[in-house]
């Protein structure tokens, strides 16, 4: 982020050092929304197609399905990108509607913490089912 060959090259060195600019890291945020969105296009299509195949099944079908490495890996990728894109999207909404800096910062930390917690929990569940076959 301090390299001159990055999106930072349009900022003056002082602005970069002090993280100035009203959005501080706006360009970075814009870019990660686009890259995660691109990843989510094929991953979402895959998820819908997969869930359609599992919706009428039982718990054991889900476990067996996730024991195939491709499914486990793609599911983990969907969860990671999904929570990432969602949390950053909610950040934008927050910045639009909440004006107090303290409140906004606290809410943002809560959103990011919740996203991380749910992402880690669901990814853990996927690995648990993939390697250990779930509890039962």
């Amino acid at each position: 982020m301090t390299s001159l060959i990055s999106k930072d090259r349009f900022r003056s060195p002082l602005a970069r050092a002090r993280n100035w600019g009203s959005a501080r890291s706006g360009t970075h945020h814009w870019w990660i929304m686009r890259t995660s969105a691109l990843a989510l296009i094929p991953l979402s299509i895959w998820l819908v197609a997969s869930v359609l195949g599992l919706v009428h099944g039982a718990q054991i079908d889900v476990v067996e399905w996730l024991q195939q490495p491709v499914n486990a890996i793609l599911m983990v990728l969907f969860l990671a990108f999904g929570f990432y894109h969602g949390a950053n999207g909610l950040q934008v909404v927050l910045e639009d509607y909440v004006h107090g800096e303290f409140t906004r910062t606290v809410l943002l930390l809560i959103i990011k913490a919740a996203a991380l917690l749910f992402a880690v929990s669901s990814i853990y569940a996927v690995f648990f089912m993939s390697f250990l076959g779930g509890l039962s």
Partner: protein, 115 residues
């Protein structure tokens, strides 16, 4: 009340729908996490999830989530085409707008029939 003072326009309507569906999808991620944790926990936990998913509320939420996904996906692609610099002229803007609305409904219907 809105009558003479405000008219829904495709630009603002589609924009706020993009935001609303984004929020709905993020909430849906929590349900996805619930589904996976339930599947990892065992048959009883999974049955609890299935009871919810099979209920009227659950079904409405699932259709809503499916439509939100289709809409947000199409609108998001439309956004990224703008990022590339294309499609700003009004005729194209309206055409792609209609594709987004109608496409999302058609895709949701396809998903629902397939389920």
């Amino acid at each position: 009340m809105l009558g003479p003072y405000y008219r829904f326009q495709m630009s603002s309507l589609l924009s706020i729908l993009h935001r609303a569906t984004g929020i709905a999808l993020t909430a849906g991620m929590l349900v996805l996490a619930w589904w996976l944790v339930a599947a990892a926990t065992g048959p009883e936990a999974y049955e609890c999830f299935q009871d919810f998913a099979g209920s009227i509320v659950g079904q409405v939420m699932l259709v809503g989530w499916a439509w939100s996904l289709c809409y947000h996906l199409l609108a998001g692609i439309r956004h990224m085409v703008w990022d590339l610099g294309h499609g700003y002229d009004l005729p194209t803007f309206h055409k792609t707008g209609w594709v987004t609305i109608i496409g999302s409904i058609v895709l949701t219907a396809i998903i629902w029939v397939a389920a």
